[in-house]
């Protein structure tokens, strides 16, 4: 017997209106959480050290806006370098040339294996290692020479530090995406007389995108926050800007709150964008794939499928 109650004689069983299973512990947990939340809100409101008035007055101050712009600019430039370089290094790691493979693997090993903060400070202090930079024939005469300090400004140090580091992470993401594409795809392309570059661009990369785009979205969100590290090399990003203000006014907590609020705004916007893109790339893998607006906008060549 599978059930322990006797069948009800003479009537058909109807499960409509069956009693729900009770979950008393859910109620307990909910009450505890509500109490904790109430405490948190109470603290935020009543603790005067938050100085919400100061927070409000700085939230859209011009100087904060400039720091915010710098943070956004660094995020965009570093991600641009990271994605472009990441694709190249990933292709290098999958190359048939063993030296190229080794160099690209070494690159990833080094830049993922040392802290980003150390790398940033390192680039900032380039002049200590090489006081002068020159362009010329390797081991031969130089055509042009520069003072390192005039080339490696805090801005270039930040871009180098963030960008070169990001290349290593993006290379791993892109490589992971590329190797998910079935080898038969390259064979089919080769049999049709397509060259390697064309096959990569038209056949392999578009398919790998499904596996590359979602983690890249996470990388952008991480990058937006990681840019705050550049404050240690005196580049006026969002964090450095609030620091410079509270060093004068000693309103440390409210100004850090201003920074937090803006970082949350940036990452929330990015997060929403990411979930849109993820949904789009999840759609590509199902049998009946209706193409939404975003799909159409991102991949112009695709026409919506007409189902008959």
């Amino acid at each position: 017997m599978l059930h322990d109650s006797p069948p009800i004689e003479g009537t058909e069983i109807d499960v409509a209106g069956a009693r729900k299973v009770r979950h008393p512990w859910r109620w307990v947990a909910s009450v505890v959480l509500l109490v904790l939340l109430a405490q948190l809100v109470h603290m935020l409101v009543t603790n005067e050290n938050f100085e919400w008035g100061v927070v409000a007055s700085y939230l859209n101050a011009q100087i904060i806006g400039q720091g915010l712009l710098m943070t956004l600019e660094l995020t965009v430039i570093a991600m641009f370098i990271g994605i472009l370089g990441g694709v190249l290094v990933a292709i290098g790691r999958l190359s048939e040339n063993p030296l190229l493979r080794a160099v690209c693997s070494g690159y990833v090993w080094f830049f993922r294996g040392t802290p980003l903060l150390v790398q940033l400070v390192f680039w900032y202090n380039m002049s200590a290692l090489m006081p002068q930079l020159s362009i010329g024939i390797p081991f031969g005469p130089a055509f042009a020479q520069f003072e390192t300090n005039s080339v490696i400004t805090p801005m270039t140090a930040a871009i180098l530090g963030l960008g070169l580091n990001e290349i290593a992470y993006m290379a791993e993401i892109v490589r992971g995406g590329l190797i998910t594409v079935d080898g038969g795809q390259q064979e089919a392309a080769a049999a049709l007389g397509m060259g390697r570059g064309r096959t990569l661009r038209r056949i392999v990369l578009p398919q790998a995108m499904r596996f590359i785009v979602p983690p890249t979205g996470s990388q952008v969100i991480n990058m937006a926050k990681a840019t705050s590290l550049v404050s240690v090399i005196a580049l006026a990003d969002l964090l450095y800007t609030v620091q410079s203000v509270y060093n004068r006014t000693f309103q440390t907590i409210p100004l850090l709150l201003v920074a937090c609020i803006w970082y949350l705004v940036i990452t929330s916007v990015l997060y929403i964008g990411q979930s849109f893109i993820e949904r789009h790339y999840a759609k590509g893998s199902t049998r009946a794939a209706p193409q939404g607006f975003l799909a159409f906008a991102l991949l112009r060549r695709r026409k919506p499928v007409r189902s008959e």
């Binding site: 049999a191 007389g193 398919q207 590509g284 794939a289 695709r302 026409k303 499928v305």
Partner: protein, 254 residues
């Protein structure tokens, strides 16, 4: 005497210590349909892949339509061709795979026009017109805008055939085109291939479909252990095999 479409001479190929092709001689005349039979692991796929240089060969030579594949002769020395030249040679040789290998991110039409537009320099409008003709020919005119995942295996394989035909190949290679299909879908693909044969296309077909060999092939080639054991008209090889190995194989697949 016309130039043979395929002229393979003493083709040898090894993977590491494993010698997979041990001196294959095979000529295929223009318009001829050759069916290659043989037990699994006998080197049938490898031989097909050597014909369009998806695999390089270690010895002997392969000519397709009079052109030496993968190499060039300069004076008395033979050189390897550079990749771009090999790529160009493949454009005249169509290939259909067991696993279809359609491009899943492109529609049926996108799959078919990709190579003609991308590498053969066809105008897009012409390529699209040709693609629709080909889809008509393989009986899938109404599936032009579908994605591969929305098609059955048999339909996918017919699209793959249309895709290969879009490059107007002189020669078509089929590597077990129906082996990955549910039994009820095999017929539609074989029917499509039969039509191509009747239209005079030169075809080399690796298959286990004895019925197809009997009905469509001009010649049946039996391979085993990296050599051609026996060949001849289908009636001869299939009904009166001369070697024990052929007999044993035919008894198994029937």
């Amino acid at each position: 005497m016309t130039t043979p479409m395929v002229h393979a001479s003493q083709v040898r190929k090894s993977f590491g210590p494993l010698e997979v092709l041990r001196g294959i001689d095979l000529d295929v005349a223009p318009g001829e349909v050759v069916v290659v039979l043989g037990p699994s692991g006998s080197g049938k796929s490898t031989f097909l892949r050597c014909v369009n240089h998806l695999e390089s060969i270690d010895g002997g030579s392969i000519h397709v339509a009079g052109e030496l594949i993968g190499h060039r002769v300069h004076g008395r020395t033979v050189h390897h061709l550079r990749p771009s030249r090999i790529t160009a040679q493949r454009r005249h040789i169509g290939m259909v795979f067991q696993q279809f290998n359609l491009f899943p991110h492109l529609t049926v039409l996108g799959n078919i026009i990709e190579a003609p537009v991308g590498v053969a320099g066809a105008a897009k409008a012409d390529a699209l017109r040709h693609a629709r003709e080909l889809l008509d020919r393989v009986g899938l005119a109404e599936k032009a805008d579908a994605y591969p995942k929305q098609l059955s295996g048999g339909q996918q394989q017919r699209v793959a055939i249309a895709r290969a035909l879009a490059m107007r190949p002189k020669l078509m290679l089929f590597d077990e085109p129906t082996s990955a299909l549910d039994p009820e879908l095999v017929g539609e693909v074989l029917q499509t291939m039969k039509k191509l044969a009747e239209d005079g296309l030169t075809m080399v077909v690796v298959t286990h479909e004895i019925g197809f060999a009997r009905e469509v092939a001009d010649r049946v080639v039996f391979m085993d252990g990296g050599v051609i054991v026996e060949q001849g008209p289908p009636a001869e090889v299939l009904d009166n095999p001369r070697t024990e190995r052929t007999k044993a194989f035919l008894n198994q697949v029937r």
